[in-house]
């Protein structure tokens, strides 16, 4: 049973920041509420004030600029991202991610900003945005700041958002040349949250053979999505081989810090990390190579 709360609706960013500032002592921000309402129904979250930013239209946008890259406003729905021809052309990995995220009904109402602020380590956008070297713009009544996605997630359902702050937009720089970004999660039922997920971005050198840069992110393997930095180091400068992929898989399983739960044991999760890393690194590598030819 959801506990009573005072409902306050904001129509602009300014209104939202004012309302949050006025009710700092006990509030929660709702956008699509596809995750929050579940927690409220279970009584795990029971705010005194619920501040609704779903109707803040100024944050509902997807824009692309060759220099700046992609900007997605916080109240943009998953479905809007999924069906955007612009996203499909410039960041196809996001369309693939959305098509495998929950159901159409959830994607129709749930938002990109809400998903990130929920801070679920098994969420889909987090790892993909991290692999894409994304950043978030955050504002409070007093100040605006921009942080990388690497810095955004802290712990289970916890982000760097401070009291009084809301997320305004996600920024993804243009994908560099000779680079491919891929994402996959392992689950029992299609479109469920991943038991383990891996996003990989591989950039090749001009020779089309050796790795110039790698960004490898694992989801659901720690209290927050994590960069597998040792695995990245292992790949940079190398040429692809079966041995290298094996080593990358092993290294990433060491870097992961998963817990056991109803879905999988810790050992099984570590095993899955190895499997998915090998698969994703190879896939990204091949797609990047195809761009060089």
């Amino acid at each position: 049973m959801i506990r009573d709360f005072i409902y306050l609706k904001a129509n602009t960013v300014e209104e939202a920041l004012d309302l949050i500032d006025q009710h700092k002592e006990d509030y929660k921000v709702i956008c699509g509420g596809q995750s929050l309402l579940i927690l409220m129904r279970q009584g795990l979250v029971a705010p005194e004030h619920l501040i609704d930013i779903k109707s803040v239209e100024e944050l509902n946008y997807i824009q692309f600029d060759e220099k700046e890259g992609l900007r997605i406003g916080a109240t943009t729905t998953h479905r809007t991202v999924e069906l955007s021809p612009l996203v499909l052309e410039k960041f196809p990995v996001l369309v693939h991610m959305e098509e495998n995220l929950a159901s159409i009904q959830t994607r129709n109402w749930g938002t990109i900003g809400g998903n990130l602020c929920h801070g679920d380590p098994a969420g889909d956008p987090g790892p993909v945005f991290m692999a894409l070297n994304g950043a978030v713009k955050i504002a409070s009544k007093q100040k605006t700041r921009t942080l990388t996605l690497d810095e955004f997630f802290i712990d289970y359902f916890e982000t760097v958002l401070e009291e009084g702050e809301i997320l305004l937009e996600v920024r993804l720089p243009p994908i560099p040349p000779r680079t491919a970004v891929v994402y996959e999660k392992f689950n029992i039922i299609k479109n469920d949250q991943g038991i383990i997920s891996v996003a990989a971005s591989i950039t090749l050198n001009n020779d089309g053979l050796s790795c110039n840069d790698a960004r490898i992110v694992i989801g659901a393997a720690a209290p927050a999505p994590i960069r597998a930095k040792e695995t990245e180091k292992l790949l940079i400068g190398e040429k692809i081989s079966k041995g290298l992929l094996e080593k990358a898989g092993e290294k990433a399983s060491e870097e992961a810090d998963p817990v056991a739960d109803i879905h999988a044991s810790e050992e099984y999760r570590r095993h899955l990390v190895g499997v998915l890393i090998k698969k994703m690194v190879e896939k990204a590598w091949e797609q990047a190579k195809a761009q060089v030819k």
């Binding site: 005072i6 309402l37 479905r79 159901s103 159409i104 009904q105 109402w109 479109n191």
Partner: protein
């Protein structure tokens, strides 16, 4: 806790209601408006039996606060037929026995309606994607897919029967 005004148009009928902001859309549709065609299945956002169309898009009415639908237009299963005239999808569901217990039917019909509004000629794979979230506890998916497919093949166009 004070009640707040909610103005919604459901199946082309305008309503002005006073509700507690914590009320879910499914509760308002069923308990305030008596539209019990919308089913409350799991009430945790998993089964999608409570699917309705809000401003042209399907949503789970158990996962939307009614107050967030303020000013919106909603279509429930009661709003599909005009009078006694069923929609092609409804007719096809009947002909194909696309339900066993019937509990998922209203949600299935609304998901399929939204799918065909977006894409009138979906492939079988696209039909499966379109109803992916809607669980049928009798597992009668094949007849549901056949029913949607039949509509896309023009078998239920006006004058075809």
């Amino acid at each position: 806790m004070e009640k707040q005004v909610l103005r919604i148009t459901v199946n082309s009928e305008y309503h002005e209601l006073y509700i507690k902001p914590k009320r879910l859309l499914v509760e308002v549709l069923r308990d305030e408006l008596g539209l019990t065609g919308t089913k409350k299945g799991c009430n945790t956002g998993a089964c999608h039996a409570c699917t309705v169309i809000l401003n042209g898009k399907t949503v789970k009415s158990c996962s939307v606060l009614a107050i967030q639908a303020d000013g919106g237009e909603i279509k429930t299963v009661e709003g599909l037929a005009s009078g006694a005239e069923l929609t092609p999808l409804q007719k096809s569901f009947l002909d194909h026995g696309a339900y066993q217990c019937g509990f998922c039917t209203s949600g299935m019909l609304l998901s399929a309606t939204a799918l065909l509004a977006e894409n009138s000629k979906p492939t079988v794979e696209q039909i499966k994607e379109g109803i992916h979230g809607n669980l049928c506890r009798c597992t009668g998916y094949n007849s549901i897919i056949r029913a949607v497919k039949a509509v896309t093949e023009g078998k239920y166009e006006e004058g075809s029967q």
